[in-house]
């Protein structure tokens, strides 16, 4: 089990680095998809099978497809991407490392509070999540539908902005 | 509870009047609400004379212990009557043929509401709120319907007023923090802070550069409000706030303040002599009168204080009369520059008679309201030091000089031929007649008004900081 965890986390980190540091956009999108699959793997390990499936469908499936679609639409590959001045990059990386160091040091300095009760493991399957989702969290669930509605409206409005300008 | 009605009613009527757009409708509504407000104030005056003290207290923000505490004493009620009469005059005299009259009258009523609140409030917190609130309408009125250089004037006006209210806020916070018992040095500091706020609003000499432009640029109804009542807020600030929260400061530096006020008297009256514009003369003359009132407030004698409170009323009446006449002239000749005016007396003897009576009132001619106030104030100053009385008395001589110069420039002489006919409308005739009669009436029978503002009414309620 532990080896599996290490493999998956290594895979996630490598693909994450690859997303950031590749020149070509397509490669970075593909590596991001690999990263999402790795995280889905982690969910499976953590017995959150429903979330793993959702992760795969929503992220790897829908969003990444959207990204690919937009990339192809704007055929961004051709132009060499201008990069930021080197000094700014170094500063940025430095700041990120500092944040990382700060987070990690917080983890180790703060007293460990997590104690595991050796109860039976519970599986995050759909049957467990379903009733929870529709009883306690019914209202937020409905609100998400409103959120989606507004997102769609926004997309349509902005999307059609170009056409209206052409018509005048 | 009537106090709340008196304070809230103008705001409500202001909101309603914002929605009216027809000229006739908005003016009718403004007139109606002004008279209802006047009725309310006089009714509360009646109640006050029965009960001796009107107050209403509603807990508002529990956490900070701030209450909506409105308490009225003699001189505050006197100022509330004033701030009911002056807007009435302003509305009656203003013609509604202007851009969006609804909001114009709304702003005027809003200003009236702010003033009512300020005069009636009994704790420092509310005092600050209404102090700020009164700047807003005058700014918008200036921006909306001002003269040519209105932007620059508006900026100067707002910057000065806000600087003043900032000083007031600083003083207020200091008093609030120290829970009302302010140490001796603290009182000195608080006194200086309050003094800056008050000196800008009155205005006194070094802080007055906003006044002439504002008086000149605003249209006449706003000038009436600013000159008539807003400047009295400063004086009231002295009475309500400074003498209560920083008495030691007042005692210690009263001579310096009186000195400054006398400088502003002489400065104002000497500059009024050389002004070329009708309203600028009024601006500088009211700078001088306000200086005299401020000086006598600090004289510490009960006659001086009472005389200055009485003079607040009479000065408001005189200034309103002067500005109204200025408006009548402006409406018909289109100019208020003294060089271009003249010969109006032959065209309208009634107007020149009223103008003369108002001038006599404002220079303190016996049998007019100005004289009673001036004598008592000069008496107050005399008891501080005879030299102050002589210097302040100079304002009488200079006052006569520039007011007669004004009368002569506007009324006498041949006047250019293309002067239009000067037939006053009935509302103007009645309004000016009322002003004239009340000036002489207050001069001959000032006792009822003086009883109204007896100093005994100072001690009744000590308005604490927030309760």
């Amino acid at each position: 089990m532990v080896t599996l965890f290490l493999v998956l986390s290594l895979l996630t980190v490598l693909s994450a680095l690859c997303v950031v540091f590749t020149r070509n956009l397509i490669y970075s999108v593909l590596s991001l998809i690999v990263c999402f699959f790795a995280i889905a793997g982690h969910y499976v390990l953590l017995k959150a099978s429903f979330l793993a499936v959702i992760q795969v469908i929503v992220y790897a499936g829908a969003i990444m497809v959207l990204f690919l679609f937009m990339l192809m639409l704007m055929n961004l590959n051709k132009k060499a991407e201008a990069s930021k001045p080197f000094s700014l990059k170094v500063v940025a990386v430095g700041v990120c490392l500092l944040v990382l160091v700060a987070l990690v040091s917080i983890v180790f300095l703060s007293a460990p509070r997590v104690c595991f009760a050796p109860l039976a493991p519970v599986s995050g399957s759909v049957s467990a999540l379903g009733p929870l989702l529709f009883n306690e969290y019914a209202i937020p669930f409905e609100l998400t539908s409103i959120l989606f509605l507004s997102a769609v409206a926004g997309v349509v409005m902005i999307g059609s902005y170009g056409k209206k300008a052409k018509k005048q | 509870m009537i106090l709340l009605g008196v304070i809230l009613f103008p705001f409500l009527s202001a909101i309603v009047s914002f929605f009216l757009h027809s000229e006739k409708g908005s003016k009718a509504w403004a007139l109606l609400s002004v008279f209802i407000e006047g009725f309310l104030v006089f009714f509360s005056a009646y109640l006050y004379s029965q009960a001796g003290y009107l107050s209403v207290e509603i807990p508002w923000i529990q956490t900070l212990g701030i209450h909506l505490h409105f308490g009225v004493r003699g001189f505050e009620l006197w100022m509330m009557i004033l701030s009911a009469v002056v807007p009435a005059m302003a509305v009656v005299s203003s013609s509604s043929k202007r851009a969006n009259p609804g909001s114009y009258y709304g702003l005027l009523l809003g200003m009236q509401g702010a003033l009512m609140g300020l005069f009636a409030c009994a704790n420092l917190f509310l005092f600050y709120i209404f102090w700020e609130l009164s700047i807003l309408p005058s700014f918008f009125l200036l921006m909306g319907w001002g003269g040519l250089r209105k932007e620059k004037t508006a900026v100067t006006y707002v910057v000065y007023s806000l600087a003043g209210s900032f000083a007031l806020l600083a003083g207020l916070l200091y008093v609030f923090m120290s829970g009302g018992q302010v140490s001796v040095y603290g009182q000195m500091g608080v006194f200086i802070l309050f003094f800056i706020a008050v000196a800008i609003k009155i205005p006194l000499w070094p802080f007055h550069s906003w006044q002439p432009d504002t008086y000149e640029q605003t249209d006449h109804a706003t000038t009436m409000m600013v000159a008539g009542v807003l400047s009295k807020m400063g004086l009231l600030g002295i009475l309500k706030v400074m003498l209560l929260f920083a008495p030691l400061g007042a005692v210690f530096s009263s001579d310096k303040v009186i000195g400054l006020a006398i400088v502003s008297i002489l400065y104002g009256s000497s500059l009024a002599l050389v002004q070329g514009h009708f309203k600028r003369v009024i601006a500088y003359s009211s700078l001088a009168h306000m200086g005299l009132m401020a000086a006598s407030l600090f004289s510490g004698t009960s006659e001086g204080i009472q005389g200055s409170i009485f003079q607040m009323g009479s000065h408001a009446l005189n200034v309103v009369g002067l500005i109204w006449i200025g408006h009548i002239i402006y409406e018909r000749t289109g100019t208020l520059k003294l060089a271009e005016l003249g010969g109006i007396r032959s065209r309208s003897p009634f107007l020149s008679a009223v103008f003369l009576v108002v001038i006599l009132g404002s220079i303190g001619f016996p049998l007019t309201n100005g004289f009673v106030g001036e004598t008592l104030m000069l008496f107050g100053l005399y008891s501080v030091h005879p030299l102050f009385a002589i210097l302040a008395g100079l304002s009488l001589v200079l006052g006569a000089w520039y007011m007669m110069r004004l009368f002569q420039a506007v009324m006498l002489g041949k006047g250019n031929s293309n002067l239009p006919e000067f037939n006053l409308t009935w509302s103007e005739r009645i309004g000016l007649g009322v002003i004239m009669v009340s000036i002489v009436g207050m001069g001959i029978f000032p006792q009822p008004f003086l009883d109204f503002v007896t100093p005994s009414s100072f001690k009744e309620s000590d308005s604490s900081c927030t309760q």
């Binding site: - | 000065y160 004698t301 005389g307 005879p386």
Partner: protein
């Protein structure tokens, strides 16, 4: 009876004023004038009856004006011999001048307002004379100043007259400031300005305080009675119509100062320094007035300066304690000066507004009645024995003789000069060749002649009101007769004959000095008025702009402080996120480590 009489005296002119102003347009032209005359006559009759019937003095409380703290002011009438006599004189002479004005102002368009102001003036003068407290007197004091402003500037179309009116009002106001200062002192010490209180406790004050108070009163008197420092308004006040000059600037208003000093003689006697000042000022004014009057060309200006010099007489008399003599002279002066002014009015009216005596002459034949009346007036003012002037002037001279030799000598010189310029005026206007070109002068209407006749009678008979003791009569009689004959002859020799007077104007320095009244007006203008106005203009420009600059500078400095922060918002979202992450990092470090 007294109560009703006194209230009637006061009420008549006030009612007249209101009636005329309110019904002004409705009344046909002459009725307004008659109404004014009737009201003043009514006041005269009621004042006269009260004077004759009751002897005891009393005060009638009308209404209490205001009471604040320990300061209180009540308005009430004081009835004693002085105030009664003054009110009778005012209403009597005033009434006659009203009647005269009916004729004089007949063709003026604004007749009603003229008579309204006239009545208002008489009312305020009565208030001044009758009130029993200095504050009440102050009301009359300023009211009279206002009416003189309105009446001097009656023909307000001409700019010069309006300026003269303003000058008169402002100068009176300077005097009023002094008077008000004295009132403030009284209020401060005793809380009231009632005569009874003030005069009883007056002497209790320290000498310094009393001098200051009496100095204030003196400044008020100087302002009102045109004494030395504040007199330049009187010659300019001749701009008003002649009845105005007669009533205000000869008979009544200018004597208010003397009345004030006479009324508060208790205070003045307690302050020797001030009474010395009073004598000095009085004598100086008398000399100054007489000197300048020697060379004036305008008939009214000559009379104005002679009024000033006679006032100097009265004030100096009041100064050295001869209050009764001063008041007696004031009364006789009112009679013959009003007579002279009205006669001059006749001359001006006849010559259609010509006032320069060099353009008159030989009017003896054309205006015989005016000549006779003018002659009586001149003889009275000069102090010719049978006429009233002789008695009153010599009463003062006797007192001056007792007071101090120098004052007596100076006053005699002044009376010689005054007889000289009066005869000069008489001969230039009525004798010599007719220099008025083709104007054909005509006598005034009957309504103008009756008051002249009555005044002439009064001027002659006036002397017997206060028959002086026998002792000083005979020697003084001889001396004055000789002096008169001498000055009359010299004047006749210079001005009387058919001589071309214009050429004879000497152009020596002294003459020009006198002609421009020692340049006092110009001195005031250049030393006080001019610099003050330029100071205020300078302040108005530079200081206001300086303040304006101050605001702009303070506003700009705020923007200058804010500018660097503005540059940070350069629109690049990258830098924003970077700054944000740095912020989060600091938060993390700050909060958790």
């Amino acid at each position: 009876m007294m109560l009703f009489g006194m209230i009637a005296t006061l009420a008549f002119p006030l009612i007249g004023f209101f009636l005329i102003t309110l019904l002004g347009r409705v009344l046909p032209r002459p009725v307004g004038g008659w109404l004014a005359c009737v009201s003043v006559a009514g006041a005269f009759i009621s004042a006269g009856t009260v004077l004759l019937t009751c002897e005891s003095s009393a005060t009638i409380g009308l209404f209490n004006w205001f009471e604040v703290g320990n300061v209180s002011a009540h308005f009430s009438i004081l009835v004693d011999s002085l105030s009664l006599w003054m009110s009778v004189m005012i209403t009597g002479v005033g009434g006659l001048i009203h009647v005269y004005a009916l004729g004089y102002m007949k063709d003026d368009v604004r007749l009603n307002s003229f008579f309204a102001y006239f009545n208002l003036f008489v009312f305020f003068m009565l208030v001044l004379v009758l009130s029993d407290s200095f504050l009440g007197m102050f009301i009359g004091w300023e009211g009279v100043g206002l009416c003189s402003y309105l009446l001097i500037g009656f023909w307000y179309e001409t700019h010069a007259y309006a300026i003269a009116a303003k000058k008169a009002f402002v100068m009176n106001r300077i005097g009023d400031l002094g008077f008000l200062f004295a009132i403030l002192m009284m209020l401060f010490f005793w809380g009231t300005t009632q005569f009874s209180v003030v005069f009883i406790q007056g002497l209790g004050l320290g000498a310094g305080v009393l001098t200051a108070m009496t100095m204030g009163l003196l400044i008020g008197a100087v302002g009102k009675s045109a004494q030395i420092p504040l007199f330049t308004w009187l010659p300019d006040a001749m701009a008003g119509p002649t009845p105005v000059s007669a009533l205000i600037h000869a008979a009544t208003m200018v004597t208010a100062g003397v009345y004030l000093i006479a009324r508060s003689h208790v205070l003045f006697s307690g302050a020797p320094l001030t009474s010395l000042m009073v004598v000095g000022l009085g004598v100086a004014t008398a000399v100054f007035g007489a000197l300048v009057a020697l060379v004036q060309r305008d008939i009214k200006k000559v009379l104005a300066y002679s009024t000033m010099s006679q006032l100097g007489y009265m004030v100096s008399a009041a100064g050295f304690g001869a209050y009764s003599a001063a008041l007696f002279h004031m009364t006789t002066h009112a009679f013959f000066k009003a007579l002279l002014f009205l006669a001059a009015g006749n001359v001006i009216h006849g010559l259609h507004g010509e006032q320069d005596i060099f353009k008159m002459g030989g009017l003896r034949k054309k205006l015989p009645f005016t000549f006779v009346v003018f002659l009586i007036g001149t003889l009275a003012i000069v102090g010719c024995p049978p006429f009233s002037g002789f008695f009153s002037k010599d009463a003062i001279l006797a007192e001056a003789f007792a007071y101090s030799r120098t004052v007596f000598v100076v006053l005699c010189v002044v009376s010689v000069m005054s007889s000289f310029y009066m005869f000069r005026l008489l001969f230039l206007t009525f004798f010599g060749n007719a220099r008025y070109g083709e104007k054909h002068p005509h006598e005034g209407a009957l309504v103008m002649q009756i008051p002249l006749a009555i005044l002439a009678v009064l001027a002659t008979v006036g002397g017997c009101l206060d028959w002086p003791q026998e002792s000083i009569l005979t020697p003084v009689l001889g001396v004055t007769l000789v002096v008169l004959a001498l000055s009359g002859g010299v004047a006749y020799f210079i001005f009387g004959k058919q001589v071309d007077v214009l050429a004879k104007q000497p152009v020596s320095m002294g003459y020009r000095m006198l002609w421009n009244k020692f340049y006092v007006d110009e001195v005031y203008q250049r030393i006080i008025v001019g610099p003050f106005l330029s100071l205020s203009r300078g302040l108005n420009q530079y200081f206001e702009i300086f303040l304006g600059k101050l605001d702009v500078v303070s506003l700009r400095s705020v923007r200058w402080v804010g500018y660097p922060f503005k540059k940070m918002q350069d629109g690049n979202s990258g830098t924003y996120i970077l700054v944000m992450t740095v912020g989060i990092l600091c938060l993390l470090v700050g909060l958790f480590l």
